[in-house]
Subunit: 434 residues, 2 copies
């Protein structure tokens, strides 16, 4: 059984908009074990649309179409589907009522044009849209089963996951269970990860291993397929234990959480707080941390001290330190971290100072140089790193991630100590590798 | 004359990677006046690849293919192109030498597998890759002219712009000049912009108008086509003057620059400096500003004071202010801005305090409420805004953009005064609307 994807719309066809829907759909459909053979895209042209629907009906068993379900005249998926099937469009009064209610609830009058969204090719099964006005529909054209979904990503995703994927699973009467597990890692590139896990496929031939860069992190993905649910779970547990042994603390999260989330959760668990002093990362660490709801529980402040004078006036870095060592130095990083710590009364403080480029580098301190300091109950330390990236924004990201990772490793040590203490109290042997 | 795009590779087909290349190519090709009718994508499968190349050769005049030019066995574009054309692959010794030199210059030995990158279908014209090891090639299959480019975006873009687009322009002997002009705006949605510019197409029937959301900004795009270069330039000037009248200071930049860049440039031009005090925006303003090279010229510091205690200790906000008004209030915003200003000695300071959500809202101050303060040579003011977004990260972005926009409008006033002064001195009437 094979599937294809069709994205429609002039914005995508002409390149005004990058099509992110097709990648999302491909991933979800492949997780059901069905092979995606092609992606396609055409614009808002009824003849083109009708022609490609007929081609797809010949080539694929399942076809997911996005876009063209809006209220305006260039939304033509309904018309093209009806033409390709050789039926006419009929009004669904129940759907019309829902659309009218949608506008009533927002205290607005429904424009006449929205009536078009309640028209469907005769024989189509309606797919409800719980968060927008554009319902989708499914329809058989020749041998192909088509699912028409809106182009708005949030609506498409919800409808795909809640209505389309379950129906496909039911339809294919697939005897297998599928599961995808994502592990986030930091500190190794894709090929280094591949090397470290090189024995994997021999040990678990039923689990497909994948690597996906999500800069500066890399995700390790386990794609599983098994007719026995219990066997699948057991196999996953064993595989993860093996991966933990191989990758150790390069693993950021066994559930795919990114660095900032993991660090935030550790701080909350340990009931500790954080202050940040940023120079070269320019507020990125703070912005990542505050992207997470609830960050105010642990995040006290960030001082983005770009100018030397700000390092002095805000963080209390001594003029002599700056004069003797310069702004980019481990002594300065340490003074920044301890300054932020004192200023806020936080449990931990991290500081970054470096050269993000493109200008400001020197033979001794080339672009990509960064000093990161960490202070906390275990003391204060600073580390020097060098990353050979040419781009300013990539450098900011890798510097920020490296700082969060340094803090993560420190928090894990505390976590391990606490766990060992608990373990000892419980006289238990169930110790985690992590 | 029509064109199609083909993206190849299992990463894109399976959804592990979003295909950004096709949108880029579509935009560049459409700028030459050639219509893109379809995008296609297949995986690393030689039969599938060969089949789609033959289909494309029947359907389109020009076909741009990306991916499958690497050194590994799953890079199959060369083989499929040769099969589709009915020729064999031949080694190009000059290209091989270049690839070997590429490795020598990096003090590495060339792996044998890279020899594959010097193999081309007989009769193909080589497209040089100035920044990577994978050269491309062009080839005629039936009536279609194919351009095979690497999948790495930076390499693909450079080769497309420098080698493919000029060759296409030459080949189509197109008598027209094309130009795309991008205007960035802030403060109006796409449909509001469309309304304000509703008379445009009647006045300039030769210029196609487009709107592109780049949240929280919206870009207005002018797509021009004219056989007379002078007429094109004159028409663009007139159209832009008309748009400036209609949109006024909603225009952020007439050359498509985003808010942070425009604000940064104005600060540099006016030889002024900036300090930022961020609560709800959590470092995002600082991170946007420091994404730009040279920001250290004007950006002194940002104090991301999430905790009330940090607002007091860093910015000197009075305990009584916080107790009387709360953290989310215009008095607090003003105290934060003036505090940052004093601390840094900056010319200007902006401050944000609000509720980004999802928690923390109340009936009086719902999620989406923000107070923004600005202090500078013209005095101090605070404004209250409310944005009905449900998502924390969207709120952070719109709050941050609103703060930068408030500063932009203030800097423009200064700019206008200076301009008027210069104008008066020069006794000139050439005053700008902007």
């Amino acid at each position: 059984m094979i599937a294809e994807i069709l994205a429609t719309g002039d914005e995508i066809r002409s390149g005004a908009l990058v099509d992110t829907n097709s990648a999302y759909i491909a991933e979800k459909i492949e997780e059901t074990g069905i092979n995606i053979t092609r992606h396609n895209c055409v614009g808002d042209d009824e003849d083109e649309l009708t022609a490609i629907l007929l081609e797809l009906a010949e080539r694929a068993d399942i076809i997911i179409v996005t876009g063209g379900l809006g209220p305006t005249l260039d939304d033509l998926s309904r018309e093209a589907a009806a033409r390709a099937t050789g039926v006419s469009l009929v009004l669904d009064t129940k759907v019309l009522e829902k659309i009218e209610n949608f506008f009533v609830s927002r205290q607005k009058k429904m424009p006449d044009s929205n009536t078009r969204q309640a028209m469907f090719p005769q024989g189509a099964a309606i797919l409800e849209n719980p968060i927008g006005t554009a319902p989708g529909f499914s329809l058989k054209i020749k041998q192909g089963t088509f699912f028409f979904l809106p182009g708005v990503p949030a609506e498409m995703r919800k409808m795909l996951n809640e209505q389309v994927v379950p129906r496909i699973k039911q339809e294919i009467k697939d005897p297998y269970y599928y599961e995808t597990r994502t592990i986030s890692t930091f500190g190794l590139g894709e090929s280094a990860l591949e090397d470290k896990l090189s024995g994997f496929s021999g040990l678990w031939p039923d689990i497909k291993l994948g690597f996906r860069a999500s800069f500066p992190e890399v995700q390790v993905k386990l794609y599983q397929k098994n007719s026995n649910k219990k066997a699948l779970v057991k196999e996953q547990e064993e595989a993860i234990t093996w991966i933990k042994e191989k990758l150790g603390n390069k693993i950021v999260s066994l559930t795919g959480q990114p660095l900032a989330t993991v660090v935030g959760n550790l701080l909350i668990q340990q009931k500790t707080t954080l202050a940040v002093a940023e120079s070269c990362t320019g507020g990125l660490i703070a912005s990542w941390l505050t992207d997470l709801p609830g960050s105010s529980e642990y995040f006290l402040l960030a001082a983005v001290t770009y100018a030397n004078s700000a390092k002095e006036s805000v963080l209390g870095v001594k003029k002599t330190t700056l004069e003797q060592w310069g702004a980019v130095h481990e002594e300065t990083a340490i003074a920044m971290a301890t300054g932020a710590n004192k200023l806020s009364g936080s449990t931990y403080a991290i500081a970054t100072t470096g050269i993000a480029g493109p200008a400001g580098g020197s033979p001794e301190k080339p672009v990509g140089t960064v000093y990161i300091a960490l202070t906390g109950p275990q003391g204060t330390k600073a580390k020097h790193y060098f990353f050979p990236f040419a781009k300013r924004q990539l450098n900011k990201k890798i510097f920020a991630a490296q700082a969060l990772n340094l803090l993560r490793l420190e928090l894990l040590k505390t976590d391990e100590k606490e766990q060992k203490l608990t373990m000892a109290t419980l006289s238990s042997n169930k110790n985690s590798n992590f």
